[in-house]
């Protein structure tokens, strides 16, 4: 179902959010997006929420043309060439429909789309692209994302960037704030890791979480053209 909030005459910006919950992993970014949708609604933005079976290529095309959103935030699987939606169907593909990002700011939470898709989109005239050039890692311990205290560390870094963007910050700021969030969480985990009271089991898990956070921090990339 496509949920569209009421549009007031003062609304200037639209945001398109794509998210799916087809498997255990993408269920997390799906849930994280709700925080951004709430904030965008509070800011009076026109939110186009393409979720689950609506997160498909045809709907992306339709809603980008209809609402012309400045921001496109996609959450799902991805590879070097495509950002994927419902059931891993490609929704944005390099040299196919990357032109849809012309003049827009994209934040793509997925693996590897910071490579060819980002470069192709930027070559075509995308204003800015924030994503990951290699795998995007998530660690979780609960089946329910709402209860997961570990996944929050990843959520914070992702949503910090989205929040900066929808509040009018630059992509550089969004990147830097997100990097700070990763760094802060890495340091928190390191403290836990080196705590003598920490059990071997917790230390092992903490070590793996630190690795995931470090890799996400390292793999995060942005490209931006200042049009001002």
């Amino acid at each position: 179902m496509v949920i569209k909030t009421k549009q007031s005459p003062l609304i200037k910006e639209s945001i398109l959010i794509g998210r799916c919950s087809c498997d255990k992993v993408v269920r997390y970014p799906f849930y994280w997006s709700e925080e951004i949708i709430d904030e965008a609604n509070k800011l009076g933005m026109n939110v186009i929420d393409l979720k689950k079976e609506n997160f498909i290529e045809q709907n992306i095309l339709k809603h980008l043309n209809k609402h012309n959103p400045r921001y496109v935030f996609l959450n799902g699987h991805g590879d070097d060439f495509s950002a994927m939606g419902f059931n891993k169907s490609p929704v944005l593909t390099a040299n196919k429909n990357d032109y849809l990002l012309i003049g827009r700011i994209a934040h793509i939470i997925s693996c590897k789309t910071g490579n060819f898709l980002a470069l192709c989109a930027m070559d075509k005239g995308c204003e800015a692209y924030l994503g990951y050039k290699d795998n995007f890692y998530i660690w979780f311990i609960e089946e329910d994302p709402k209860k997961d205290v570990i996944a929050i560390m990843f959520q914070e870094a992702v949503n910090t960037a989205s929040r900066v963007l929808i509040n009018g910050g630059s992509v550089k700021e969004a990147f830097e704030k997100s990097q700070e969030a990763y760094e802060r969480r890495i340091n928190e985990c390191k403290e836990k890791y080196f705590d003598p009271a920490c059990s071997d089991e917790i230390r092992d898990i903490t070590g793996r979480i630190i690795n995931a956070l470090i890799l996400n921090k390292k793999n995060q990339v942005y490209f931006s053209i200042d049009l001002a």
Partner: protein, 77 residues
């Protein structure tokens, strides 16, 4: 045992470095890039590429992979 990895820049030929530099020069002046946890302007990135630093190598690898892929996509008459 020597754990130090061989510097990657040796695997990028001078011709490839030239391609990366030329491609970077064609980018808009107001381009910015965030890579390996830091932000760079076009001019700063150009210096990184010319000096073949870690950032320069990461950017070069990304661009060269992309150019290779673009070439595969192109049709030849």
């Amino acid at each position: 045992m020597n754990w130090k990895a061989k510097p990657k820049k040796e695997y990028i030929s001078e011709k490839d470095w030239a391609i990366v530099e030329e491609r970077l020069k064609t980018m808009p002046d107001k381009m910015q890039l965030g890579i390996l946890s830091s932000s760079y302007t076009k001019d700063q990135l150009l210096i990184e590429v010319q000096n073949k630093t870690e950032v320069g190598i990461a950017y070069a690898e990304m661009q060269l992979e992309f150019v290779k892929w673009l070439l595969k996509q192109s049709k030849v008459l």
